[in-house]
């Protein structure tokens, strides 16, 4: 009856919410179901509350919706926090034996299942397993074969020994049996399994995997939510390929470490979030001026200042486009899905090296730290190509020496791209500096040399604009009057919003833009539409400004800056009312 099921576990920070949620997400994925997860890190009411939410379906799911069907509530507050999303028929699993939960009132029309989670956990070997007892109970409620949990439990607890794994399996079964025997909870929920094999990963992990695939061997970073997962992913893996992760003392150090790694010839990267980008900005200009290839991942969170560190926002677009003093050539890539985080990371490394330029690779919190299922073929390693650009070896160095035999690292070539000699290359020794410099990389303030160097750095960008494809992704009805444009992680919600709108809303052509600079020219697309709407998670409409600038056309802005990502049904409503409003005033 329900096509998709919305499931959540919530409690206090420290209750193991995240890891329990991930176990269930993995079990669903192993059972051949699609999964899209989201996390509530902090309360709408007061601190400490956290939840892991899963939307699952046999079909692809790309977004969250405003509905919760099964809730494991480890605290009473968890119920209060989710009242908006709970509905008639929602099932709430909680530990009725807990003194704090004894008086819980289950809202009218909902089904409360008090399960002695802690006691059953103890029976299985320890109270710590109460969450797994709850997972077992949830399996029963949703008709989900409990065997699917086993593999996920093995993956999670395997390194702790078989006894722990077995105890957890037992705990799940105790939860399942308790519900079966004690309640006659007839629900319509039915988590059907398929033979599909999916992988489950988040955007940060996709970036990390993309980096290794692309040959990144040197990573330096300083922990910051929501970018830390990139560093944690690489740690322990990059070493297998001869690389290293360095945890720096701060972001000033992190980016300079990465710069050093890149100057030594390694594919290098750092990842951070807004506050870290601020600190890195001085060195960002140095990287561009010294023409050093570097990938800087900015996993955006809500700002300014410390802002809302665990909340969604796309507020750093202008920072990445314009941040830094002087005029800094750069590329800005913004993958729109978790899988694209992988592909764009590979692309970012190639672009950085081909054009010897810093590349911002930006993801936003909504896709960076929440897991999603994919067909493993989406991450086709055989398709990965590494293009290192104009690297010269010992034999080729000669072509780039001046009349005095000095290597010219900033040779002002026709396409603007200079030769690159890695340290250790005989006769390639050269310096470079953040001061304006000549072709040899030495300081100069001569007017014509200055102009030559500024022009050649700019020419590289023009070359890239010509040689590379700066495409967009398109969905919906290509002939629709309404054109919706978005960037970053809104793609998923918007694609599902189109499905909602198909029933009774306007037809929509949807363009999802993964390149901020250089970016596709949307002049024709905008001209062909009656109404143009730009959707983004910030208050001012930073991408809308760019579209207006490029197309000289006013656009309608749909913005969200509550700190929570768009939900598909909510976004459909926003589009519907924006179009109605525009038609009324037209």
């Amino acid at each position: 009856m329900h096509e998709d099921l919305n499931w959540a576990i919530g409690g206090e920070a420290g209750d193991g919410i995240d890891s329990t949620g991930k176990i269930f997400a993995r079990a669903l994925s192993r059972a051949g179901r699609h999964v899209y997860t989201s996390k509530d890190f902090a309360s709408r009411i007061r601190g400490g509350y956290t939840a892991y939410k899963i939307r699952t379906s046999v079909d692809r799911v790309e977004s969250v919706v405003d509905r919760l069907d099964i809730l494991i509530a480890l605290t009473e507050r968890t119920i209060d926090e989710n009242l908006d999303e709970l509905h008639e028929g929602s099932v709430i699993i909680y530990d009725g034996e807990q003194t704090t939960m004894q008086d819980v009132e289950i809202p009218e029309g909902m089904i409360g299942l008090p399960v002695p989670l802690k006691d059953l956990g103890e029976e299985a070997g320890g109270a710590i397993m109460r969450n797994v007892v709850a997972l077992g109970a949830a399996c029963e409620v949703s008709n989900f074969p409990i065997e699917n949990l086993d593999e996920a439990l093995e993956k999670r607890f395997g390194d702790k020994g078989q006894a722990i794994v077995d105890n957890n399996k037992e705990a799940a079964r105790l939860g399942q049996e308790y519900v079966r025997e004690e309640f006659d909870a007839e629900t319509d929920y039915d988590l059907e399994c398929t033979d599909e094999d999916y992988v489950l990963l988040n955007g940060d992990e996709a970036i990390g995997m993309g980096a290794i695939a692309a040959g990144c061997r040197f990573y330096a970073g300083y922990p910051i939510t929501p970018a830390t997962d990139v560093m944690e992913y690489l740690t322990g893996r990059i070493e297998e390929y001869g690389g290293a992760v360095v945890q720096a003392e701060d972001e000033l150090s992190a980016i300079n470490l990465a710069l050093g790694g890149a100057r030594a010839g390694a594919r290098a990267m750092t990842a951070t979030s807004g506050p870290g980008i601020d600190l890195m900005t001085e060195t960002f200009g140095l990287i561009a001026t010294t023409e050093t290839p570097l990938v800087i991942a900015n996993v955006m969170r809500s700002g300014p200042s410390t802002g809302m560190p665990t909340k969604q926002e796309q507020g750093d677009l202008e920072q990445m486009l314009y941040g830094g003093h002087g005029e800094i050539p750069r590329f800005v890539l913004a993958p729109t899905t978790v899988a694209e985080c992988f592909h764009k990371t590979v692309e970012a490394f190639n672009l950085a090296e081909k054009y010897q330029i810093p590349v911002y690779l930006t993801a936003d919190l909504a896709m960076a730290v929440t897991e999603q299922t994919y067909d493993p073929d989406e991450f086709d390693m055989d398709a990965v190509e590494v293009d290192r650009g104009k690297v010269v070896d010992e034999a080729e160095v000669d072509e780039w020496l001046d009349e005095k035999g000095r290597f010219r690292p900033h040779a002002a070539t026709e396409d603007g791209i200079s030769p690159r000699a890695f340290p250790g290359t005989i006769d390639g020794a050269h310096m470079t500096t953040g001061l304006e410099h000549d072709e040899l990389g030495r300081r100069t303030e001569e007017e014509d040399v200055r102009v030559d160097q500024v022009d050649k750095r700019q020419r590289k960008v023009e070359t890239a604009q010509e040689r590379e494809e700066w495409d967009y992704r398109e969905f919906g009805d290509p002939d629709a009057d309404t054109l919706v444009i978005s960037w970053g992680s809104n793609e998923g919600a918007m694609r599902e919003a189109i499905e909602f709108l198909e029933a009774d809303g306007p037809d929509v052509r949807f363009i999802s833009v993964p390149y901020i600079f250089p970016r596709p020219d949307l002049t024709e697309e905008v001209a062909a539409a009656e109404e143009v709407i730009v959707v983004e998670c910030n208050a001012t409409g930073q991408f809308a400004d760019l579209v207006e600038h490029d197309t000289l056309t006013r656009v309608r802005r749909v913005n969200k800056y509550t700190g929570v990502r768009y939900k598909a049904d909510e976004l459909a409503e926003e589009i519907r009312s924006a179009v109605a409003d525009m038609e009324a005033t037209a």
Partner: protein
Amino acid sequence: MSSDVRFTDFKSDKQPTWCPGCGDFGTMNGMMKALAETGNNPDETFIVAGIGCSGKIGTYMHSYALHGVHGRALPVGIGVKLANQDLEVMVAGGDGDGYSIGAGHFIHAVRRNVDMTYVVMDNRIYGLTKGQFSPTSREDFETSTSPEGTHQQPVNPKALALSAGATFIAQTFSSDSQRHTELVKQAIEHDGFGFVNVYSPCVTFNDVDTYDYFRDAIVDLDEEDHDPGNFDQAKDKILDSEKEYIGVLYQDDDSVPYGERMGLEGSMADIPDGAPEDATDLVREFY
């Protein structure tokens, strides 16, 4: 190849623009000699220079080099060395660059103990910005920004280094060419972070910490029966504010550099032209 390398091979054809008599001339000459005499060659050496008069060194020497932003030379040098263990890496900068704006990196570079050399040209003044006090300036030092003295203690970089777990601390004087060269050589040969603070007088803006002052105040540890392997002796010498010692103040012979602890070898520049052979395993991990 190394045997034919002369110290002039490390010299670029750019004429220094330092003031005549600046201590940085002697500091740089010693560094070039030390590099050549330890068997290095410019094509396998990477120099990172800070910002300041001292930082111009990257331009006057010949090697692979980067002249970066103020205070961040150490992280760049560490990045270079970790990404290619086969390179000789030397970082050089001023006392402002290293102990003020870059002080945070200094402590962490010391404790990380990467196998490289850090030469600080300590003139107890900001030279490039024309004579403001620096972190090593004396409390009563009068400058354009401290007309009545600095009202604060000078930093003791050698004490900072010792307390941060340094494995090699030396002090030299730029005009004692032979001794300076010898000590930089020892820093290069040290397995770990070789830290050398060089008294490198600014003849234009510092009329207190002059050549004459240093000549009078300096005591060579070679004449003091000092055991650099003895932490307590090192501590006493480093905290002695009456004298200016030159020589190796402290050296830990058991030092194991960071790269070795991390199991790093060779260069990270060599990568396949596609994903690594077994990269599909990375995807499988997500099942």
